[in-house]
Symmetry: C2
Subunit: 521 residues, 2 copies
């Protein structure tokens, strides 16, 4: 598409100025975007490992669990595992492959998560793929104000972008950490914003029991549910990381266990940087990652058999001279694909990321993110975290990158649509009608289809050089800058029952009065 | 890697200043790059079409050839096809599927092309993948001088980059059209430069018999061969395009036929933009593309059975409002993959491109090119044209984009390396030694491998934000700018026998004296 309506010069035409290209868009829509949909990825996955390779990773992971063991820094978890027959020495827990494989049989291959707006229900697993916003960076940046630490304002901005884009299916962790809210009550304000500014699936951090319980309670209130109804099916989720190598910390386990008891899903994602927290060989890092992930999934299944659980991959390589993590590398791609093979071997839904190491939304950020997306799609990943907005290995949420990533996510959603095959599509008659040297533009076959034949980007500029230059030679991040500004200007929060809003506010006020959550975690 | 040695500030340290990161590189090497290698792509291809879909495209292509026919604007070609049993009406030639399928059986599934340096021999087909430089843009650009029409100087610059980078396996068409050389003698100067500044496989344009014959003669001289030796195996190649829909022009056919007679390979690449020169449906555009491509390949096989021939795909979509071509789109990706399925069905090596529509080497250019590369790899493409340097849908060769593309090509070459599986790679013992909460950096397992464990980019900046900012917040194109300058500064042409060089010069002088080639084509 021509991006007339989003280029800087066009701003003077007024907020809804439109532009020469005459984009059609719904009322209140800044851009013409794809409708909400859950993409189905039916392509066969890319498989770097042979059957023998899969068996070797499995054998390695099982030997880690049986012979080395995993540290569970949580007495309750250790007790549950001991009762199930694991060999416990202090915090070290060794579990046999029979227990592991038997327990994994109970994990659902697919599950749903239903937020307050049931139209935003997610299906996780199988051939489904969903995308979430960037989560947890301490900093944010945009072209106007540069890089800065996160605040509630920037948090709310990025949550609004999360809500606005239909290609973002769920609201992950905080898209930026709002450091101007005291940590004891931050989760209350953040969840209030998230549950009122979006109607998409929300996430709880496992940072102490009060926070997890508060978030579950707020999601329950937002959905208008009884406690029983809340526990009847997944309404939210969490993600926990191991402290690689071979360790699960107290608060992560505590939170995941609380969620499991109430039937809410957890994604277990070891953060295994090869050469640092995991072996320098990518297959070794994947092996260790599997062992760590499976250990926690077994625990959650022992607590609530059949509880929805997914495994995450966050295996990448580092710059061996500086230790700096890298993302979207060839090694990262292969690790993601190998993790996909192992997730299917164990029958688990898989989570990955749309990651990059770049410091600015330039071409490096784009190719690293494109390679991460390629890895996710070719690995048959089900949940893509950090799908929009991530920069600097996760240390910064970029407003412009958020918009750029949504452009490529939309392209991937279209890419995953099936290719129809029928006489009209093969178009023999159209070829015959046009004949040698003719043109297809005006034919009936074209006219019937041209409105919907091709994906129309909202950010890419396909105009020729002369037109592009005449309009100011606007680079992609500048175009993205104009788009997020207009989205934020025109943002309308999704409707919420005033009684529910009031109840949420009352809960936040009460919990603030009580002092919120301890900050000595 | 940290890019200290390539950032603008480092330039003042002198040409070989190196930098804090202490990259190792060979003598005369500006960057540490991968060695020359022919990548092997063993991943299973992505297949948007079912078996039934493949049959439907085949049926459509055969019906086009049998019932509609292709125009061959070359009497000699028409005569050859008539003799083979085709139904001829004027320039329209209809050929039966029996002839097509029988003739295709003779096309070699793989072949080699051997340039003057036999170490640069290409293997085309099967699971091999080779990359060539951008070809044929009228304009070039760089950050210092902006966009301008091509000259011999810029032509030579881009040919030097083609030679420098080991990830560029062959020299395609002119990387920019040098308009300061008169068209009648342009091919002589260009080929002289190409054959002396590179030792890689060269290409001939099919633009009239004199040009094709001159290029073959110059390649023969450069390789130091008798006419018989030259014809004994492929030494160069050409690429021809159909004039879609359904037409092959005189000079393209004439040139390809001349090459076939001397055993030199041709790639036949229909340029089928869906909605313009081909049906608006992508599968319809692929069907037409196959018909056009196969028709010319049959002709070349009739002239010289078993002559190496490949089919090319250049099917993409357009902006339906402006007619502007788009590249690296979801539709482009699927068309490339479908073409891969059809090429394998017909037993033909496949050529595609690393294309984008962006006007500047920004993030849009990077994601469009990344998606084009993804398409090529997942389609099991054998030759990637325009693999480095392409901008603006092929209207501009960018010096910076050339360097950026070489970075991603290197990453793809590493991506295609097999994943080894053995006890050392699975690393159970290393995990055991490090134990819970340890670190892998200093272990023997890591130390033995860290030098070669991971791909080291020459252009990506993986430093943290603070270091990146302190060093000037250099964007990727600026880093690429520094790299191409140093490559050109330090460029050394590959050695050539002075007698051969003299013979080439004498040939060029003689042909110039004779007036070169006619310019009324």
């Amino acid at each position: 598409m021509s991006t007339n309506s989003t280029e800087p010069r066009a701003r003077s035409r007024g907020r809804r100025g439109g532009g020469r290209a005459g984009n059609t868009r719904g009322k209140g829509e800044v851009i013409e975007q794809l409708p909400w949909s859950l993409p189905i990825n039916t392509d066969k996955p890319t498989e770097p490992l042979t059957e023998e390779g899969i068996r070797a990773v499995h054998e390695g992971a099982m030997r880690i669990l049986e012979e080395i063991g995993i540290e569970f820094l949580n007495p309750e978890a250790v007790e549950i595992l001991a009762k199930a027959g694991c060999i416990v020495e202090g915090e070290n827990v060794r579990m046999g492959r029979d227990l592991v494989m038997e327990t994994l049989k109970g994990v659902p291959r697919t599950f749903t998560i239903t937020p307050r707006n049931p139209e935003r229900t997610l299906e996780i697993g199988g051939d489904r793929m969903v995308f979430g916003n960037v989560s947890s960076p301490p900093n944010c940046s945009d072209l106007d104000r540069g890089r800065r630490t996160g605040t509630r304002e920037s948090y709310r901005d990025l949550i609004k972008l999360t809500q606005y884009f239909n290609c973002i299916h769920f609201a992950g962790g905080y898209p930026v950490e709002p450091i101007d809210i005291h940590p004891s009550i931050r989760h209350l304000d953040c969840l209030y914003d998230k549950l009122t500014l979006t109607d998409k699936v929300a996430h709880a951090y496992c940072l102490g029991k009060e926070r997890v319980e508060d978030v579950m309670e707020m999601v329950r209130i937002a959905c208008g549910l009884t406690h029983e109804e809340f526990e009847a099916k997944p309404r939210m989720y969490s993600n926990i990381n191991s402290t690689s190598p071979l360790k699960h910390d107290y608060p992560m386990l505590d939170g995941a266990m609380r969620l499991a008891r109430r039937g809410q899903p957890t994604v277990v994602t070891p953060f295994t940087l090869a050469g640092a927290m995991a072996p320098v060989t990518m297959i070794g890092a994947v092996t260790q990652s599997m062992a760590e992930g499976l250990a926690a999934i077994v625990l959650l299944q022992l607590i609530r058999p059949g509880c929805p659980t997914a495994i995450g991959t966050f295996t990448s390589n580092v710059d061996m001279r500086t230790g700096a993590p890298a993302f979207g590398t060839p090694e990262y791609m292969r690790a993601t694909q190998m993790s996909g093979q192992m997730a299917r071997f164990y029958g688990l839904p898989l989570r990955a990321s749309n990651a990059c190491a770049a410091n600015t939304p330039d071409s490096q950020s784009a190719w690293e993110s494109a390679f991460s997306l390629w890895a996710a799609i070719s690995a048959q990943v089900n949940m893509v975290y950090h799908a929009a907005g991530w920069l600097e290995g996760g240390l910064c949420a970029s407003y412009e990158k958020f918009v750029m990533d949504c452009e490529t996510l939309q392209q991937m959603i279209v890419y995953m649509r099936p290719t129809p095959v029928n006489d009209g599509e093969i178009a023999f008659d159209a070829v015959k009608d046009v004949g040698a040297g003719g043109h297809f533009f005006g034919t009936a076959h074209t006219q019937e289809r041209y409105e919907t034949a091709f994906y129309k980007p909202f950010l890419s500029d396909w105009s020729n050089f002369e037109n592009w230059e005449e309009r100011g030679a606007v680079q992609t991040p500048e175009r993205a800058n104009c788009i997020w500004k207009r989205i934020l200007e025109e943002f309308e929060a999704p409707p919420i029952d005033p009684a529910i809003d009031e109840e949420l506010q009352a809960f936040v006020a009460k919990r603030k009065e009580e002092g919120g959550a301890p900050t000595d975690f």
